[in-house]
Symmetry: C2
Subunit: 77 residues, 2 copies
């Protein structure tokens, strides 16, 4: 997949959430529940379709029990 520019950054965030969630063996439904996120909204976040807020990013990081900066690794490497 070719991605570039600013879209790259947004597109990278969601798949990183998905990647870490799957590594932890969590279902999308469970992560949605743990992070107080609507399940369909979580799907859109993971697909890079939503411009998430700082608060939501922290809720997701906390639910995954990771440092929030790990959610930026894909786009920074």
């Amino acid at each position: 997949m070719v991605i570039r520019g600013d879209n790259n950054k947004l597109i990278a965030f969601g798949p990183k959430v998905r990647e870490i969630r799957k590594l932890q063996g969590l279902s999308q439904e469970k992560l949605a529940e743990l992070s107080d996120t609507d399940r369909s909204y979580m799907g859109r976040i993971e697909r890079g379709e939503k411009n998430v807020t700082l608060t939501k990013m922290y809720q997701i990081a906390d639910a995954l029990e990771i440092n929030i900066v790990k959610l930026f690794k894909v786009s920074e490497e």
Copy 2:
């Protein structure tokens, strides 16, 4: 100042932006211009009053020419 819990995380982000901006000798007005942000909105971001989006965070990081993860350092240390 006593800050705690989730508020800590939101409150930490804005002052980190301000800290880095000042280290670079940029005015708030200039950073607002460079990051395509309304100046009064930039003031509220720096005061930790706004729940910024991922896109806005990248605009600010790009304007400061820093890796976005540096904007999380205060809250992670």
